[in-house]
Subunit: 329 residues, 2 copies
């Protein structure tokens, strides 16, 4: 592996001034990244939601990935959590564990990715930390956002009788990863690779689901694993109809659309869609919200008494799923 | 290097439930670590201060260091920043980049270190993230605390004519590191090693300096480097009298007490003391504060018109200091 000389890029403080301070320019509380801390003066009547998530080279992204997309992924996996809770993102802290190989060009592109997403999602860099490391490169983000006091959509609100929904399509990111690992020709599956590299936090949907959804979370570990988290937090069981799990045409062209493909999609993870429950009486309200924000929402199952999550075939028989989602170890 | 098998410890979710959820028990907003985010409802009339800082194996600590001390260092380097700003710590998010080698015993000790500091400093784990990594082990903390609105002590408030002070003694941590690297016998310099491994955030001092200090920051990069940051933020120059830099008896027994030792101490870093400025009319108030909180405070220099930081000998001549402090690259 080629390593570049450290003098191929400016020092820590020059990098902060040149690349990162401009990202904090519009937030008075960031103090131009020139103090030890950021100052957050939350508006009255809101709760502040805090989330931290990290991505690691060779685990969550590849060294060959475009640097701007690495930055956007690091930010968006956090925004996706804020989205699922109904929050409006406001700011973030950035920690960069930096080996020697990223040169100034890589870091400039990384900062450009952040700038683009700050403009798109309306938040600002508020502070951060850069550490040298023997490797791998890692990016940790702590993001925060606001919801009206008490309006956060929790994991723990699902009740037996509720319907279960998911936004977008499931498995695309897992498909993209399998393509990048050589399962198929990348040129034929660019959409899936984009879904892997660039999550779309469903912020408008999450905000519109406040007061409509009884429970929600974002799909990162895998649809079944995450609904398992939601079921456990709510003290309920969840049944999912495999045939109703929404798959994209691109994913079906890669994996097919039989039960095996659906099981694989439901355990793949990195979807960054919102899975949520809502009372059956709110079904029309859910679909109205989906139309209003322009995001497809599919009803995929129901909440029942009991515990655990089950995947069912068309005859209502449980499909054994040995591996329901991603765990780090 | 011996690596342990991953099955020597429980999986990610079991670790969270067993070791980390108990650390969040007393904070309702942590939601038992069972949701996607933490909820922070700041009291009225406060600003929330946010800080993130990370430590990396082989850079900021050693694999052989006791795990509870690694945890405490990760937390305390953040608390030290909150202290210097006059804040009361309230909570933190924890990100753990975990290679295969730490076994359950290591992680239990790590959690015990956090528990001890939570009790001592009155804050709570609010959320976090665990990522597997090929290594090195790294710990990123994002801590937050509260100050009365507008009362944060900034870097940018020093004015020409102010006096410059520092708490405690300088260079001990650097001395401890040099001992750990083999410069002297560890058994003879346990105090210095403790100072390296276990920073003491000066929280009571920082709070008491609100309204007294004109500017402050914690000493982490090195006394001269950090006073350079303060001078730049305030648009002033700072002169430090080398002979007034407080050295501990232990450090003098290692490095001596000549000018070379003082230069080395002033650039060593990792002190986690508070360096601050205050109007000369507030000198008595500063010393009263120091007595009240039981922390030694030394007057070491003054703020002047101009820019930069200078180290002076007894005759007032500038001492050339080629390397004023630590930078990551």
């Amino acid at each position: 592996m080629k390593t570049r000389k450290p003098d191929a890029r400016p020092g820590e403080f020059e990098l902060i001034e040149k690349l990162f301070a401009p990202l904090a320019r519009n937030a008075p509380g960031a103090l131009g990244l020139g103090d030890d801390v950021a100052v957050l003066a939350p508006p009255a009547g809101v709760d502040v939601l805090l989330k931290t998530d990290a991505i690691v080279e060779s685990v969550d992204f590849f060294r060959e990935d475009p640097a701007d997309l690495v930055a956007q992924k690091a930010l968006r996996v956090n925004l996706s959590d804020l989205a699922a809770k109904g929050a409006e993102p406001a700011g973030y802290l950035l920690t960069l564990f930096l080996p020697e190989w990223p040169d100034l060009g890589w870091l400039e592109s990384f900062a450009q990715g952040l700038a683009r997403d700050q403009a798109e999602f309306g938040l600002s860099l508020m502070g951060g930390d850069m550490s040298s490391t023997p490797g791998p490169l890692a990016v940790s983000v702590s993001a925060y956002g606001f919801v009206p006091s008490g309006a956060m959509i929790r994991r723990a609100g699902a009740r037996a009788g509720d319907c279960v929904f998911v936004s977008g399509t499931i498995g695309d990111s897992g498909g993209g990863l399998s393509v990048l690992k050589g399962e198929a020709l990348a040129a034929e599956h660019q959409h899936l690779i984009t879904r892997y590299r660039t999550p779309q936090p469903r912020l408008a949907l999450g905000r519109a689901l406040r007061g409509v959804a009884s429970a929600a979370l974002d799909v990162s570990d895998g649809l079944l694993a995450d609904l398992g988290h939601l079921a456990r937090a709510s003290g309920v069981a969840i049944s999912i109809d495999a045939t109703r799990i929404p798959l994209s045409a691109d994913l079906m062209s890669l994996w097919g659309d039989d039960l095996d493909a659906r099981c694989r999609a439901a355990a793949a993870g990195d979807d960054y869609e919102i899975a949520f429950a809502a009372p059956s009486a709110a079904r029309d309200a859910v679909m109205a919200v989906a139309r209003q924000v322009g995001v497809a929402v599919s009803e995929i199952g129901r909440v029942e008494e009991g515990q655990g999550v089950r995947l069912l075939d068309v005859a209502g028989r449980e499909i054994p799923v040995p591996h329901k989602g991603f765990t780090h170890f």
